[in-house]
C-alpha cells in the first residue's frame, strides 16, 4: 500500500514570509516528487481525470514522471494545459482533480498531490518545441489576455491561424498579473508562459480597450472570427452607508495597485498603496485571502476576515485559508457589516456589524445566512477591503451591444463551443460563467479554439 498521506511541501516560515512577497510554497525536490508520484495507483478508470476541467491525462503524466521521463511528462501536461506552472499553483485541487482521487477516499488518507506534481514538472522548464503548422490564411482577434484568451490564442496559433490579442492593460495575464499576488504566483512564471505564446507568432496589442479605443464592430469586420475573453473585472460593493469614506477599498483596487502596479515596492515604483493598523477584509474567497495576506505583508498589525457564513461554506482554496491563518489573520464568521463609521476627516474608524445564523440552503446550495435579532456590535477598524465578488465590466454594455447577454449581465455563450448569438463571435471564461477559476477559463478557451477552427474550416 502507498503512503496514506501527501508528501509535505516545504514552505517559507510564517514569520519570515509576512515580511516579504516571496513565494510561500517552495515546491518539491526531485526526491519528494518521485516519492509522491509513487503513491499513484494508476487507476484504470482514472477518476481523477474527470475532476479536471481540461481532462489532463493525470495518471499518464505521473507515470512518465516516476519513470523519470521528464520531457514526456511535460509534453503530456502541455498537451491539455497551456499553463501547468500556473494551474499547479492556483487550481482549487481539493474541489477538482484531487477531490476524485481514489486515495482520498481511504479513511484518513490524502489524495495524490496532483497539483504539486504538475507544478514540479512544469517548473523543470523543459523546452518543448511547439510545432506551429503552416498558415491557413485566416485571422482571429482575441479580446483579453487572461487565461481564457491566452489559451485560445495559443491553440489557434499552433494550427496556423494568425492571431492578434487586444489587451486593455499594458501587459498580459489578466487576473494572473493584476489579481493573484506574487507570493502565490510569481509574475515571472506568467511572463514565461506569455513569452511562449508570443514565440508562436501571436501578436499582442496592449493598451487597447475593445469597445472604447477600438470598436468591436471593426474587429468583427476585419477578422475571420473573434473571441471575447474579457473576464468579470468590475468590483461589487456591499453598498452599505459609508462606502465612500476614506480607506475603504475594493479588493480589485488594492490588489491592482500592489500586483499590476507593484505598489509593494513603493516608492521605487510610483504607485502608492494605503496600509493601516487594523484592517478588515470582507468575504471569504480567494480574493479575500489574497487581499488579507497582502495587507499583512504590507505591515498591517491586525487583519480580520469578516464573513457572513460559516467556515464550512468558505469558497477559498483550502491551502490559502490555512496559510492565512498561519500568518496570524483572524477569521470572524457569521458576521455582516451593515454600516461604516467615519471621523471628521471622513476616515473610516469603525464598522457596525450584525451576527448571522445559517438558515435554509439558497440557489448556490449553501445555507443562507440570516440576521440574528439584536446582535448589533461595533468593530474598530481603520481600513476596509471589500472582496465580495466581481461582475462584468460596465464598458461591456456600451461596447459590445450586439452581443447577447444573459440575465446576470454576462455574455450568453454555448458551453461546448463558446458560440454567441453572432456567427463569427465566440466567448469564454469569467465573462460567460461569472467569476470562476483559472482552469475553467482555460477549459472554455480550449473548447472555443476547437469550435473556431471548425468554423474557419467551414464545418
Amino acid at each position: 500500500m502507498p503512503e496514506k498521506n501527501k508528501t509535505k511541501m516545504r514552505e517559507l516560515d510564517p514569520i519570515q514570509r509576512i515580511g516579504c512577497f516571496e513565494e510561500v510554497a517552495l515546491g518539491y525536490s526531485k526526491e519528494e516528487a518521485l516519492k509522491e508520484a509513487a503513491r499513484c495507483l494508476q487507476c484504470k478508470n482514472q477518476p481523477c481525470v474527470s475532476g479536471c476541467p481540461v481532462g489532463i491525462n493525470i495518471p499518464g503524466f505521473i507515470k512518465a514522471l516516476r519513470e523519470e521521463r521528464y520531457k514526456d511528462s511535460a509534453m503530456i501536461l502541455k498537451g491539455d494545459n497551456n499553463l501547468p506552472a500556473v494551474c499547479g499553483r492556483v487550481c482549487p485541487q481539493e474541489k477538482q482533480c484531487e477531490a476524485r482521487c481514489i486515495l482520498g477516499r481511504v479513511p484518513g488518507g490524502d489524495a495524490v498531490a496532483i497539483g504539486r506534481l504538475e507544478r514540479f514538472v512544469a517548473d523543470l522548464e523543459i523546452p518543448i518545441e511547439s510545432v506551429v503548422k503552416p498558415s491557413i490564411h485566416k485571422k482571429v482577434a482575441v479580446i483579453g489576455a487572461g487565461p481564457a484568451g491566452l489559451t485560445v490564442a495559443a491553440d489557434l496559433a499552433k494550427e496556423g491561424v494568425s492571431v492578434t490579442v487586444f489587451e486593455a492593460f499594458h501587459t498580459a495575464g489578466g487576473v494572473l498579473v493584476y489579481g493573484i499576488p506574487e507570493f502565490r504566483l510569481p509574475k515571472k512564471i506568467v511572463s514565461n508562459e506569455v513569452q511562449f505564446v508570443q514565440e508562436m507568432g501571436v501578436e499582442f496589442r496592449f493598451n487597447e480597450i475593445v469597445g472604447r479605443t477600438v470598436p468591436f464592430e471593426e474587429l468583427v469586420n476585419d477578422y475571420d472570427a473573434v473571441f471575447i475573453g474579457i473576464g468579470a473585472g468590475a468590483p461589487r460593493f456591499m453598498g452599505i452607508p459609508g462606502t465612500n469614506l476614506n480607506n475603504i477599498f475594493s479588493a480589485s483596487e488594492f490588489l491592482t495597485r500592489v500586483n499590476l502596479m507593484k505598489a509593494y515596492l513603493f516608492p521605487k515604483y510610483d504607485t502608492p498603496v494605503k496600509i493601516k493598523d487594523r484592517v478588515a477584509v470582507i468575504g471569504a474567497g480567494n480574493v479575500t485571502m489574497d487581499a488579507a495576506r497582502t495587507a499583512r505583508r504590507l505591515g498591517a498589525k491586525e487583519v480580520h476576515i469578516v464573513y457572513r457564513r460559516s467556515e464550512e461554506e468558505m469558497p477559498a482554496r483550502l491551502e490559502e485559508y490555512h496559510h492565512a491563518m498561519e500568518e496570524g489573520i483572524k477569521l470572524h464568521c457569521l458576521t455582516l457589516p451593515v454600516e461604516y463609521l467615519g471621523d471628521a476627516n471622513n476616515n473610516v474608524v469603525a464598522m457596525k456589524c450584525v451576527k448571522m445564523t445559517l438558515g435554509e440552503p439558497d440557489s448556490s446550495g449553501r445555507r443562507r445566512p440570516v440576521q440574528l435579532e439584536n446582535s448589533e456590535f461595533t468593530m474598530e477598524v481603520d481600513m476596509v477591503i471589500e472582496a465580495i465578488g466581481q461582475t462584468p465590466n460596465a464598458v461591456l454594455k456600451a461596447g459590445f451591444s450586439s452581443v447577447q447577454l444573459n440575465k446576470w449581465g454576462s455574455i450568453q455563450a454555448d458551453e461546448e463551443t463558446g458560440r454567441t448569438n453572432l456567427p463569427k463571435v465566440f466567448a469564454g471564461g469569467d465573462i460567460v460563467t461569472g467569476a470562476a477559476t483559472v482552469i475553467e477559463a482555460m477549459g472554455a478557451g480550449k473548447r472555443s479554439a476547437k469550435a473556431i477552427l471548425k468554423y474557419l474550416a467551414g464545418v
Binding site: P235, T243, S252, N393
Partner: protein, 277 residues
C-alpha cells in the same frame, strides 16, 4: 512606445506637450481623457485630451507631484511607454442657445475642446477663465476665437475681475439666460459653481478628476456619489451634473494618499539632487 514631439512651458509649472499616437485622433471627442504610463516604474496618470491632429495629441499638465514632474521632464524625442485612450464619455455637445464655459487653473485646458465644439455647434459661448494670478492664466488667446464674450478673474486682481469665477458667473447670470454651464477646475471651484447653477435651475456639467487607477471600470477607486448613486467616474463620467454631486465627500477622497504622495515627492527630489524639470 510613444514619442514626445514637443514640450513648452506655458506658465509656471505648466507644460503644453504634444505626443505621437497613431489612433487616438480618429476617435477622441471633447471631454475624453487618456491614461499614460511613463515607464516600468510609473503610475497610471489620467490626463484630458486637449486637442488632436493626424497621428498626434496634446495634453497640458500642471506639475504637482512625482508623476507629473517626471512626465514633464521627458524631452522631445524621448518616449513614453504606454498610452491608452480615449477614455470616458464625450461631452454632450448640442445647439443649446447661450452657454457659459468656466475654467479654473489648469482646468482651463480640458475646457478648451468643449468650448470649441460648443461654438462650432452654433451656440453663443460665454467664457469665464480664472487663475490665481495673471502669469498662471493659460490659453487665453486660443480661446478668444471660440468665445462670444470672455470674463477673466484672478484671485489677486492682476488681470480682469478680482475674485473667483463665481463672481463673474453671477454677473453673467444677472444679465442673460444661460441654458447650460460647463465648469472644469479645482473641485472646490466646481462645487461653488454647481451651487450657483442649482440656485438658477441651470444644468451644470462638471468634469470630475478623482484618483484613478485603471480608468476602465475595474477598481472603483474613482467612485463618487452622484444623485444618491455610486458612479465610477472613469466609465460613467467624467462629466456629471454638478448639482447632484456629493462634493464634500469627494473632496476628502482626493487627499486620501497625501502622506504617500509627499513621501514619493521627497524621494524623487532626493534622487534628482534637489532639483527638477
Amino acid at each position: 512606445m510613444y514619442k514626445v514631439i514637443s514640450r513648452e512651458a506655458i506658465a509656471p509649472d505648466t507644460f503644453d506637450i504634444w505626443l505621437e499616437h497613431p489612433n487616438i485622433h480618429k476617435r477622441a471627442k471633447p471631454g475624453q481623457f487618456l491614461i499614460l504610463r511613463l515607464d516600468e516604474f510609473s503610475e497610471r496618470i489620467p490626463l484630458t485630451i486637449v486637442s488632436t491632429a493626424e497621428g498626434r495629441l496634446r495634453v497640458i499638465i500642471k506639475t504637482i507631484g512625482k508623476s507629473t514632474y517626471k512626465l514633464c521632464a521627458v524631452k522631445p524625442g524621448e518616449t513614453i511607454a504606454d498610452i491608452v485612450g480615449p477614455l470616458g464619455n464625450p461631452s454632450e455637445i448640442d445647439r443649446f442657445g447661450t452657454v457659459c464655459v468656466i475654467g479654473g487653473g489648469v482646468g482651463i485646458a480640458p475646457l478648451f475642446p468643449i468650448a470649441k465644439a460648443l461654438k462650432e455647434a452654433g451656440n453663443r459661448v460665454i467664457g469665464i477663465l480664472g487663475a490665481a494670478k495673471k502669469e498662471l492664466l493659460i490659453m487665453k488667446d486660443e480661446f478668444l476665437p471660440h468665445l462670444d464674450e470672455l470674463y477673466i478673474t484672478t484671485d489677486d486682481g492682476s488681470e480682469g475681475i478680482k475674485g473667483t469665477v463665481t463672481v463673474a458667473l453671477q454677473k453673467v447670470l444677472k444679465k442673460e439666460k444661460v441654458e447650460v454651464i460647463w465648469a472644469i477646475g479645482p473641485m472646490v471651484m466646481m462645487k461653488f459653481v454647481s451651487l450657483m447653477a442649482a440656485e438658477n435651475n441651470t444644468l451644470c456639467w462638471v468634469s470630475l478628476n478623482p484618483i484613478m487607477v485603471d480608468g476602465t471600470g475595474m477598481c472603483g477607486a474613482c467612485r463618487a456619489e452622484v444623485g444618491e448613486e455610486v458612479k465610477f467616474t472613469c466609465v460613467h463620467g467624467p462629466e456629471f451634473d454638478g448639482r447632484k454631486v456629493k462634493w464634500d465627500e469627494l473632496i476628502k477622497r482626493q487627499y486620501q494618499y497625501r502622506e504617500e504622495e509627499k513621501r514619493a515627492m521627497e524621494d524623487y527630489l532626493k534622487e534628482m539632487g534637489g532639483k527638477n524639470a
